[in-house]
Amino acid sequence: MLHEPAAQSGKDPASPYKTRIGVWMFWFYSAIYAGFVIINLVQPTLMEATLFMGLNVAVFYGFFLIVFALLLALVYNHLATSKEAELHVPDPERENH
């Protein structure tokens, strides 16, 4: 007995594309996140340096990691939505409303 999802969604031909760009973006962000961790371990005093409008490297990098996550997410959504439209992926939400 296999369990089907609570809300059925059709086949998604855009899935391989979305997964591919998702994995690339994941590694890209991971590298930036790892950079933050590495600087703290290798050269922690670098984090004290003032960088921009009074913000030190630690605060700037921290804010950047948060804002950049949102920017990447929006880019990902744009690419994924474009591909879904191109491949005519059914959208149950649109069909229901």
């Binding site: 999802p5 809300a7 990902y76």
Partner: protein, 645 residues
């Protein structure tokens, strides 16, 4: 007890219970109970994600840690938010495609394995319980100042309300409670942050003139052969205690005996600095700052800036500051913060907790290193990496977060709701730095329990804001605990009873089983919330992330990306992840401290298990999958392991 907090509290509780009873009439099926029928709009789901995720740990724990350890608390904000990248790019859409009600469904979708059903359900319960503890602790922390009730009463109150929310309408009521709370939390956190900037900072914060700033006394002394002699005749020497590397001296003045910490001034001369203290005598009576504890005689709220950009006194007053300017002045090497630390020791038969001021410069406190010893030993560095890894990988493995992907109609909606969540959660996490530092600079930190820093900061702006923030913080606990109990009840009723034990329940019985499970898990949560009183809630959630990242994420990733993954491999990975992460935590210095043992004697030197338990879990999956690989055992084609090249 003030009236306005109580009125707002009762209003919020009435609202969430009203919502729950309203939706209860529409919740007849298992899909309705466990997944809100998969009909929630992605925008609502995104904010509900925020409401689910921004728990007591985020609001109370992170702000409290920033208020006492500076930037180190913000590391949690960064790590928690970064984890959503993994959820969005790797997990969201596949989990939606594969799952039904629970994370176990997704893992087991292509195998139908009893082993996976059992192991994943147990993992869900373990992670949910680890996550529940800090939420319940947070509930107790909130209720004490809000309603004047003891910690245990707060925990029981939250437990009963949450059981009612979940047992009435399951995921539907939980979703709307989380939506409401998520939206209010972000909006009012912004209000508090703006008010912090508007008030500005001074070296004698008096909460807009409402609370006089207490200047801690400095007493000159001499030290000869480790014996302290006080030169001021107004003070009488009453004893000396060495607590590790710190020396405390008891001095009596005007009939009151207080503890002072032995320090040195800038020229290297010895001097004594006034501390706060809680002394528990053998007869059970408690003295706070030398006088019997009472509602009027409590520990003084503490924390302030001793110098701002090298200035003190009136010339240090900043007036209103901009958001970047505030970060700049806190990071300045000329800014000095007075942060209170705790020392525990015995004074004869009496148990003493002394809270003493410790100075730190802005450049030091606004980068990692105060709590997490990035410049420490090799083990300290491993502990730091381990924490950051667990925070990054833990989010997308939290069962109560994963089940929210089943409440929307499609994978595209799962993706969009994740992006809304990233926007709301990211914005909130930026605000935690303003609220935490605001608490640090406004002398509103309870030195015995930093978890209340954000609500106490709000109180410094007046009763209304305190009442709103406290009520929202309480709703925060309700929202997150509801989600955790839905996840736990799904694991018991759906994964274990329905699927693993094949109990052949109809829809009505499944819903009933879910409600009974929610009741039992709620009771367990109450007991744990009382036992773990007093520990920083963000730290505990960090551990829950480590268990989730170790137990669940390797299976999810490998199922999606490695076609040789087998059911046995997944079971081995989950068991290895749970046992290794919980085992490392149990033998860590932090837990030794909790047991009341000497942390230096802990069998393992680090407190964060992720760096070891996550790779171990991956390794177990790979080895066992290769050992059990047969043409039929590996993930069938329908599992769609993804090729990325």
């Amino acid at each position: 007890m003030e009236l306005m907090p109580v009125i707002l509290f009762v209003f919020f509780v009435g609202l969430v219970l009203g919502l729950s009873f309203y939706f209860a009439r529409q919740t007849k099926s298992a899909a309705g109970y466990f997944a809100a029928g998969g009909t929630i709009h992605w925008g609502v789901n995104g904010i509900a994600f925020a409401g689910d995720y921004l728990s007591a740990a985020s609001f109370l724990g992170i702000c409290g840690m920033i208020a006492t350890a500076g930037y180190d608390g913000f590391l949690y904000s960064i790590g928690y938010l970064a984890g959503w990248i993994v959820a969005l790019f790797v997990v969201a859409e596949p989990m939606k495609r594969l799952g039904k009600y629970t994370f176990t469904d997704a893992l087991d979708a292509k195998f139908n394995s009893k082993g996976i059903q059992l192991a994943a359900a147990i993992s869900t319960l373990v992670v949910s319980l680890f996550y529940l503890i800090p939420q319940m602790v947070g509930a107790g922390v909130l209720v004490t100042p809000l309603l004047g009730l003891p910690h245990a009463a707060g925990v029981i109150l939250v437990g009963l309300i949450v059981i009612t929310i979940v047992a009435t309408a399951g995921m539907t009521s939980t979703t709307y409670v989380q939506f409401l709370k998520g939206a209010l939390l972000v909006v009012f956190s912004l209000v508090v942050s703006v008010m912090v900037c508007q008030r500005g900072f001074s070296t004698a914060p008096d909460q807009d003139g409402t609370v006089p700033f207490h200047r801690y006394a400095t007493v000159p002394c001499t030290v000869a052969s480790d014996a302290v002699t006080v030169t001021d005749p107004a003070f009488q020497f009453a004893g000396q205690v060495n607590a590790g590397a710190v020396t405390f001296v008891k001095l009596t003045k005007d009939g009151k005996t207080l503890f002072y910490k032995l320090d040195k001034d800038e020229a290297g001369n010895p001097e004594l600095h006034e501390c706060q203290s809680v002394v528990t005598r053998t007869d059970g009576s408690v003295l706070i700052n030398g006088a019997p504890a009472s509602p009027e005689n409590k520990l003084r709220q503490a924390g302030h800036l001793a110098a701002i950009r090298g200035k003190t006194g009136d010339e240090a007053k900043t007036g209103s500051v901009g958001p970047f300017e505030m970060m700049g002045l806190f990071s300045d090497p000329g800014t000095r913060m007075c942060i209170f630390k705790e020392a525990k020791f015995k004074d004869g038969e009496d148990a003493v907790k002394a809270y003493y001021g410790s100075m730190a410069t802005g450049n030091r406190i606004m980068r990692p290193g105060v709590k997490f010893k990035v410049e420490g030993t090799f083990t300290d560095k491993l502990d730091f990496i381990s924490l950051m890894l667990a925070l990054f990988l833990g989010t997308s493995a939290l069962p109560h977060i994963l089940i929210r992907y089943y409440t929307v109609p499609s994978p595209a909606c799962a993706r969009k709701s994740t992006i809304v969540a990233i926007a709301a959660i990211g914005f909130f996490y930026v605000l935690t730095l303003y609220m935490g530092l605001g608490a640090m600079g406004n002398a509103v930190v309870n030195p015995a329990d930093n978890n209340m820093s954000a609500p106490l900061l709000a109180r410094s702006f007046g009763t209304f804001l305190f009442s709103m923030i406290s009520a929202i913080a309480f709703a925060t606990v309700l929202g997150t605990v509801s989600g955790l109990i839905v996840a736990g009840s799904g694991a018991v009723a759906h994964d274990l009873m329905d699927r693993f034990l094949d109990m052949k329940m109809d829809e009505k019985k499944k819903v009933w089983a879910g409600k009974v499970s929610a009741f039992v898990i709620g009771l367990i949560a109450m007991v744990l919330g009382i036992i773990f009183q007093g520990i920083n809630v963000s730290f505990l959630v960090g551990l829950a992330f480590a268990v989730a990242a170790s137990a669940n994420l390797p299976s999810i990733i490998m199922l999606l990306f490695w076609e040789k993954t087998t059911a046995s491999g997944i079971v081995a990975s989950i068991i290895t992840g749970v046992v290794s992460s919980v085992g490392i935590i149990a033998l860590s210095p932090t837990m030794y401290e909790l047991y009341g043992w000497d942390p230096k004697t802990a069998l393992l030197p680090f407190s964060n298990p992720g760096l070891f338990s996550i790779p171990l879990s991956f390794l177990a999956l790979v080895v066992v999958s290769l050992m059990t690989a047969t043409p039929t055992a590996a993930a069938p084609a329908a599992a769609e392991p993804v090729k990325t090249a």
